[in-house]
Subunit: 268 residues, 4 copies
């Protein structure tokens, strides 16, 4: 029709080739959302479990995702460097991911929150960020995990002071102002007899999702059973995802799972 010319106003937004594509989604106004839905403070296992469930749905649908990392109201999905999904169109990738995440979060809500009904539909923003090198990508993931740690340590102290010492939020904030990590560890230990490092890894490290095959690879190799986990045997890659709460800042994780970043596995 004579109206079709308007299609030309659409623009293409391809991601630069040979870069890791990260899609990070983050809950919109989850300060309010978690309040309205009576999330436990500072960590609600139901909420975190539901986030992970939604992220697993994304991983099941998008086989190009090699790893996902989540904490608080956010999740990051790492698409491998050679990924050709939607011709690498940024809008297509991020909107498909975020909408699937949002609908999964909503669909699976009752399985995690039982009688606590969902009061209104949640929204998430999403963005695409490109990382040219493996080091950049690892630093990105380290940035998010360090953020998890810092916030969790602070929030743990904050809510202990409020919930168990009866401080007002303002007083609690004042008490923590200027404290170092070591101060907060000490505070937890001396005042609440809590060894921070014994708190659940879920809270301290967040959630790492990788492919079953990548998770198994190490032990298989060790038992000398590992043969030919290779690009040519992509079919061997199992669908789904494995849930970990590992440290991904240090190099141990990456040494144990060398296949995650190995581009050979994703074709050129």
């Amino acid at each position: 029709s004579k109206f079709e010319y308007v299609k030309q106003f659409e623009t293409d937004d391809p991601c630069l080739q040979n870069c890791w594509i990260v899609v990070r989604i983050d809950g919109k106004a989850f300060h309010k959302f978690t309040d309205v839905h009576h999330y436990m403070k500072p960590n609600d296992e139901r909420g975190l479990g539901l986030m992970t469930r939604a992220a697993q749905t994304v991983m099941a649908d998008f086989s190009e995702v090699v790893l996902a990392y989540g904490q608080s109201d956010e999740f990051s999905f790492v698409f491998h460097k050679n990924c050709k999904l939607y011709n690498r169109r940024a809008s297509k990738i991020m909107t498909n991911v975020v909408s699937l995440f949002a609908s999964s979060f909503t669909l699976y809500w009752p399985r995690y929150f039982n009688t606590q009904e969902l009061q209104y539909p949640p929204a998430f923003d999403a963005r695409v960020v490109l990382y040219p090198s493996d080091d950049n990508l690892r630093d990105y993931l380290s940035w998010r995990q360090a953020d998890c740690h810092i916030n969790n340590l602070y929030n743990t102290c904050f809510w202990k002071l409020v919930q168990e010492k009866g401080l007002t939020p303002a007083q609690s904030q004042e008490r923590l102002k200027g404290t170092l990590s070591s101060d907060k560890n000490e505070l937890l230990y001396s005042q609440f007899n809590i060894n921070y490092n014994n708190l659940p890894e879920l809270y301290r490290k967040g959630t790492v999702l990788i492919r079953p095959r990548d998770a198994e690879a190490q032990s298989e190799r060790e038992t000398n059973n590992y043969r030919g986990y290779s690009a040519s045997k992509k079919s061997e890659r199992k669908p789904g995802s494995v849930v970990l709460h590992s440290d991904i800042i240090g190099k141990k994780f990456w040494e144990e799972h060398p296949y995650i970043l190995n581009p050979k596995l994703y074709g050129s």
Copy 2:
């Protein structure tokens, strides 16, 4: 932390100022989705109603939307030219819209489909398109509504031939190949005693959502009661949205609702 530098790899993606911002969302693989969920063919009132419900949720949340238009598995949201939402960042706008749409679709599913359960979480893509002039914007909306008409006329014929004449899909397609609109109208009338123009406007025109205030403006003016629907009285603008199935290709609609495109109403 030493990892924070990775934040700099994020890029800004502002929409050009003084342009209409259109966000169009479209169901991912709804060919399959509608099949799995036994949608009526060619139009399922429940499905269309649910799409509209989700779009209304978006309009309730994003007051900058002046009009939305939907048909089939898609919806377009028009943000006014001076809209400052998220500093006009394209990614922020489209991902918030599409994720809210997806979670609303999922949350309200049971209200429309009752015992027909949602089998898996639906995804939608989204894109931002900019239109510099009012004419460009109207041509965009005309393009979508013309698309609705063309598809609906075709699909109505196609399924009548299949459902009532027992043609196979392939035969039905063959029968319709090369036919003009007039041929299809004639076919419906002669073979099925259907006057296409009497079919529900919902199917033929799709769904137009506007603001209550914009919908009322005309009659108020006519009854001489209209006083000062103006930018300075934004508070008068009611939340929510009014559902229409009007023709938006001709100029009548725009003459009757002059406030929709009037930039004065949205600040400079």
Copy 3:
């Protein structure tokens, strides 16, 4: 060859359709360049003449330019809204314009500076800016012309105080700090017997280049000789450009030259 894949790393950068495309070029470090080449202060007629000559070369080569405006070490080229040059690729447009400007500036240097030799090759930056509406475009041009006026008034005072009253640059700057336009006009009049408005329009208004046909249009129309300056007679449009130093902030200029912004003249 096996290296050709690298071509895919190139990205397209089309300008949004139906927008005015402005290319503004600006001399790199012309503070130093004008010093080294002993430009007259605050305005050097040779320098301004050479800039105009280079801009005319650009207009001769790029027929899609409908108007150019220059002042100081900068020039803006306005490409009409429907311009299809290089498929509206921004990089192609700005680099061709700026390199042609730079080589023209260099080639024609001796014609303007005679025995004053060019000491080193000058560079210019360039940028593309899009304006959706005619008002936006006119405001852009007004912004540049107002900038010309403000700088010229200031510089005229500054150099008078230095050159004729023997103030040091620092003293001159101090003397002018916080003065209004009216103060500066008054200063020129009372101290130097200069009526600012009598200074050359070249200095006060900058340089406007339009097409011969657009320049003639008005008088022709008035003498009733104007017949059919229309899109269908593009051949009538003469090449080259006419040099004016008109005010382009007020509406008079635009009323007198209605063809400049008229999109009908450039095809749809």
Copy 4:
């Protein structure tokens, strides 16, 4: 002023961090330009020399360039990965480079073409291309040098057939259609007693510009005099550039000049 809002229509266009930034410039319509100026066919030493001179001017001005490669009417400038020039704004970088190249080409024309006067100012386009990995960058440069070789072999045959065998251009083209490289080598040898590999490297390999320091590094190291060519001694890096006609496809060049791609030398 009230017009300043138009500045907001400008957009930022930063290059993704940690990528090699390549600016490639290419002569506009040099088919005609070389004809008009009676360039020798297929290679004109004056023209190639002038291109190199202009490229050296660019390298002298932009210390972030680590290597430049030129052939025919094009030159590529490689900015190192950590380059912060103009905040990595693509438009700023490419327009400054291309305009300086164009004005240098024009300014130095007489030194290379003597009495052959420049008939009109030349233009060049420019583009920015990003390469995430060293391999991508090397493949880019290999692509350009392979292009040089292929064109030069073809053009050498083509013009020999025209100039020495009296074929028309059409006949010459016909004669070469479908020939392999080996066929062309054989043709040159059997018909013109030319050993292609003995033709000047300038024609066969194009021109490589590197920094004096990078050129020296190897021999210094070998003589054991190399101490601390490091980021902290940037001052050691000499300005200017060294002209080579080396093969840059094989690894030998890169092994001999390991400093060119070494990011440590350019700060993080």
